[in-house]
């Protein structure tokens, strides 16, 4: 796997070596004991997830977010969570309508509430829109993609705002960071990334190209997206863009946490997990759908989800 670091204009390219992590190098923990992430183990561990490890029909779950690994009920909706640092397991009522998971927060639009498992909920503003992608939140703001357009609301707020002239493609999650709101639009049958900077009123294209660009995710100053053959990571403060060339078309989302960007890509034999720090998780079979939190990784392998970490 080759990674390229480039400026926004794509001229400066720096090769960096990666390291390969294979099964013999992993300590496979099969017990159901606690996992103390506050004091990271000297060596990375890999373990199946107790009780919530079965991959769900929505393919979005199980998913690691804010330290919680969210699992699902039989219909694929989140109704249980496993706290990675403490090993605590909780169950809750599965959302019946539109939902989303961000920063450990489960957004349940029909019940008009958002909550971290085990904690008190906060209120969401009722909406009449037809939501067609999972909701996303960042701090106090929730963003969702509806048939009317991209809409935002403040948690515990009283109103919501529709971004005029936004035409988000269904299924693709929108994204939100310190600089703006991002989403995928389809024009002439091809996906491209659009955004609305917080400082501006009008949405505009963010990334377009010959290939379909999709699966945008963001945090802080960073925004990541992908084509069929590359993953892109742009720092909006510095204006630099890194491009990681790989066969990544199979991704259904990108994982981004504290600057670490992970994705699935075709390795030597099958799909593996790669990260932008050179990390490569290679095991027999496909490793898919990575989600991240502070160096911890949850991924899907067949019909089983596994927890790995910390990524070094």
């Amino acid at each position: 796997m080759e990674s390229r670091q480039a400026e926004a204009n794509g001229k400066q390219i720096v090769r960096s070596g990666g390291f390969l992590l294979t099964l013999p190098a992993l300590l496979l923990c099969v017990g159901a004991g606690e996992l103390r992430a506050e004091t990271p183990p000297a060596e990375p561990i890999l373990r199946p997830l107790p009780s919530i490890g079965k991959v769900c029909s929505s393919s979005y779950l199980p998913r690691l977010s804010g330290g919680w690994v969210f699992g699902c009920d039989s219909s694929g909706h989140p109704d249980r969570a496993f706290h990675a640092p403490s090993g605590e397991q909780l169950q809750f009522s599965a959302p019946r309508g539109p939902w989303g998971i961000s920063d450990g927060l489960l957004l349940d639009l029909q019940r008009k509430k958002a909550f971290t498992p085990g904690a008190d909920h906060v209120r969401l503003t009722p909406i009449a829109s037809s939501v067609h992608a999972p909701l996303v939140s960042s701090g106090e703001t929730v963003v969702f993609s509806s048939t009317q357009g991209i809409e935002t609301m403040q948690i515990n707020g009283q109103s919501r705002t529709l971004l005029q002239n936004s035409r988000p493609a269904p299924w693709y999650r929108p994204a939100l960071n310190d600089h703006g709101v991002f989403w995928v639009e389809i024009h002439q049958g091809k996906e491209e990334i659009h955004w609305k900077p917080h400082s501006e009123d009008v949405p505009r294209p963010f990334a377009q190209g010959d290939q379909a660009l999709r699966h945008v995710t963001a945090e802080g100053n960073l925004v990541a997206w992908m084509s069929d053959t590359a993953v892109f990571l742009r720092n909006l403060s510095t204006g630099t863009t890194q491009e990681y060339s790989a066969d990544v078309h199979s991704n259904e989302a990108l994982a981004l946490s504290e600057g670490l960007l992970c994705y699935e890509a075709r390795g030597e034999y099958d799909l593996d997990i790669f990260c932008n720090n050179g990390f490569h998780l290679q095991r027999p079979g496909h490793q898919r759908r990575p989600s991240l939190w502070r160096g911890w990784l949850v991924f899907h392998e067949g019909e089983q989800a596994l927890l790995y970490g910390p990524i070094k």
Binding site: K54, V55, C56, S57, S58, S59, A169, P170, W171, I186, Q188, G189, K190, E191, A212, R214, D228, H249, S250, E252, R266, L271, H286, H300, E303
Partner: protein
């Protein structure tokens, strides 16, 4: 003067009806919907007259119902030839239909001899309920997968389709071409209304034939046996082909019993071309004809069988010219281990005792929504059986021979009530043969038992209709209906809204083709033979073959963790190994190929859309 006044009044009434239908205060919440309904009715009128015109050419001395039915079958073949030669277009249909209308007007069609008023009232009530189905947006699986989907795709592509990627279009398509003509001008409701018209004519023909052949008073129970059965009424307002086949079979029998071999052969050919499940009925009809003639006419059999086969030979030749088995897609897939149907899947067993108990089981245990016959008939039919067997058969041996042959033929095939529909009117005729000889109180009891059988037969029909009826002429309710009733509609909607104009879509383990506004390939229901066969034939290159056929997008069902297109419990007669080979392996093959050669662009529940790389 009086004649002018009458005409003026009629014209004004018609104009008023049109204005009312298309106004904001009309019966539909959307004036456009009222106008669409009017166009659908007008299209059906146009094609009915065209059919009478062509039918009067084929059968000049026959009754109007015979002529209309013959014209419909005639157009089924004629349009097939014309569309093969000149492509599929609305203009072609207008010209072909216009010619029939011209002949029809010129020949001045005779009026149909209608049944007495009480019978008409019963028919009017039932057909009015069927009318709701005909005007509602199509959501029935077979309509949106095949009967309306093929016409929609023919019109979209401008030519007939066929072959491994369009297996359903490789069968004889007489009804589908009529539906194409109706759909092209009058929309889906026109096709459904035309089917409703044929269903009504079938009931009138059955009543008339029962009264004429079996005896006075037998018309009512014979039609009640049909309209009191869920499996019959549920299809009336849909664009299907079983009931037109039943009409052709009934008219073929009527002709056979009158020793009129030409119409017998014509109607037989039309029925066979519209559905191969008519074959045992037709064998019975030919046997009845021989019994009626009282001599073995070998030359006649060859001659009239040849005339009947003219209706299917062009379709068989078309398949052969395309390198397919003439009976494709029922045979010739090139995969030994992929049967077109598992006959064991339907009914309540196939042991000798099960076959003997079929009349009992089908009458009392059939379920509309399970493989236990997948339908329902009025249980009162069972009560007619002893009287027919003891009192009726000896006077109606030819009829009994036809019904018996049809029954045996159906018993040997899949025990799905739908496949019995081509024989249903003939079976009803046989069942009422003992009726006239019964004492009055027994006749009353039998009629009453038919009424008692209505609730469990009409309840599932009306239940389905109640959901559809609210969507008539109401676009937002129609949208909700499509989303709630059609599996994978969100994925189809994504394709229509977001895929490029020149996209070509393959439906894998999914079927709502009628609603895809792009050219499609494959598509399958239930056992998903086309999809499984494609994956089985091409294995690792299955998606490459699709890409070579200019497919750009895939609509896939079950490409998610734990999602399954096949329930193990539906195939208890298969070993684990066979089930895995036949059903799980194709799913696994597809999942592996999708990961390598496609990218998911949309997902909703079990359905996803993929773009081929």
């Amino acid at each position: 003067m009086k004649q002018h006044a009458t005409r003026a009044a009629a014209g004004l009434t018609l104009l008023g009806a049109v204005l009312l239908m298309s106004s904001n205060h009309g019966p539909f919440s959307d004036p456009q919907a009222g106008l669409s309904a009017l166009i659908a009715f007008g299209t059906v009128g146009f094609w009915s007259l065209a059919c009478v015109g062509l039918g009067s050419t084929l059968l000049s001395s026959s009754r109007p119902i015979h002529q209309l039915a013959a014209g419909a079958g005639g157009y089924g073949l004629l349009l097939g030839v014309l569309c093969t030669l000149f492509g599929v277009s609305e203009l072609l249909f207008l010209l072909a239909g216009g010619a029939g209308v011209w002949v029809g007007v010129r020949n001045r069609p005779r009026s149909i001899a209608l049944p007495p008023t009480p019978i008409l009232v019963i028919l009017a009530v039932v057909l009015s309920i069927g009318l709701l189905d005909a005007l509602a947006p199509p959501v029935d699986t077979d309509e949106i997968y095949q009967h309306l989907a093929l016409p929609h795709q023919f019109l979209l592509e401008g030519h007939l389709l066929g072959g491994e990627l369009h297996p359903d279009a490789s069968r004889p398509l007489p009804m589908h071409l009529l539906y194409t003509a109706l759909l092209g001008i009058g929309g889906a409701s026109a096709a459904k209304l035309f089917h409703l018209l044929l269903s009504g004519l079938l009931l009138i023909a059955l009543w008339e034939m029962a009264e004429r052949r079996v005896g006075a008073g037998t018309g009512l129970p014979s039609i009640l046996l049909l309209i009191g059965s869920y499996s019959f009424v549920r299809e009336m307002g849909l664009a299907y082909n079983n009931l037109p086949v039943a009409l052709w079979c009934l008219l073929a029998l009527d002709s056979a019993l009158d020793d009129r071999p030409k119409p017998m052969a014509l109607f037989s050919g039309m029925a066979l071309a519209a559905k191969y499940t008519a074959a045992p009925v037709l064998v019975g009809i030919y046997l009845a004809w021989l019994v009626r003639k009282r001599k073995l006419d070998a030359v006649g059999i060859v001659c009239w069988t040849g005339l009947a086969l003219l209706w299917v030979l062009p379709w068989w030749a078309r398949n052969a010219l395309e390198g397919l088995h003439p009976l494709f897609p029922y045979a010739g897939w090139g995969l030994d281990n992929t049967p077109f149907m598992h006959v064991e899947k339907y009914g309540m067993g196939r042991e000798p005792l099960d076959l003997l108990l079929l009349p009992w089981n089908i009458s009392l245990h059939a379920e509309p929504d399970s493989f236990v016959f997948l339908g329902r008939v009025n249980p009162a039919g069972l009560l007619f059986l002893p009287a027919a067997a003891i009192l009726g058969v000896r006077d109606h041996r030819a009829l009994a021979l036809t019904a018996g042959t049809a029954w045996v033929g159906w018993s040997l095939g899949p025990h799905w009530i739908r496949y019995l529909l081509p024989a249903a009117p003939i079976l009803a005729l046989l069942l009422v043969t003992g009726f006239p000889k019964l004492p009055r109180i027994a006749r009353g009891a039998l009629l009453f038992s038919l009424v008692l059988g209505l609730p469990q037969n009409w309840a599932p029909w009306l239940s389905d209709l109640s959901q559809r009826a609210s969507a008539i002429g109401n676009p937002s309710a129609a949208d909700e209906l499509l989303k709630s009733e059609i599996r994978g509609f969100e994925a189809i909607d994504w394709v229509n809204q977001n895929s490029p104009e020149d996209a070509r879509v393959a439906l894998l383990f999914s079927w709502p083709k009628f609603y895809v506004d792009r050219p499609t390939v494959l598509g399958s229901v239930e056992d998903h033979v086309p999809t499984r066969a494609h994956l089985g034939l091409h294995n690792d290159s299955a998606l490459k073959v699709l890409k070579d056929a200019e497919v750009t997008h895939l609509v896939v069902a079950g490409a998610c963790s734990g999602c399954k297109n096949f329930l193990r419990k539906s195939y208890p007669f298969l070993s684990e190994t066979d089930f895995d080979t036949l059903y799980r392996t194709p799913e696994r093959t597809l999942l592996a190929l999708l990961t390598q050669e496609a990218t998911k662009v949309f997902e909703s529940a079990k359905y996803s859309v993929w773009r081929l790389l």
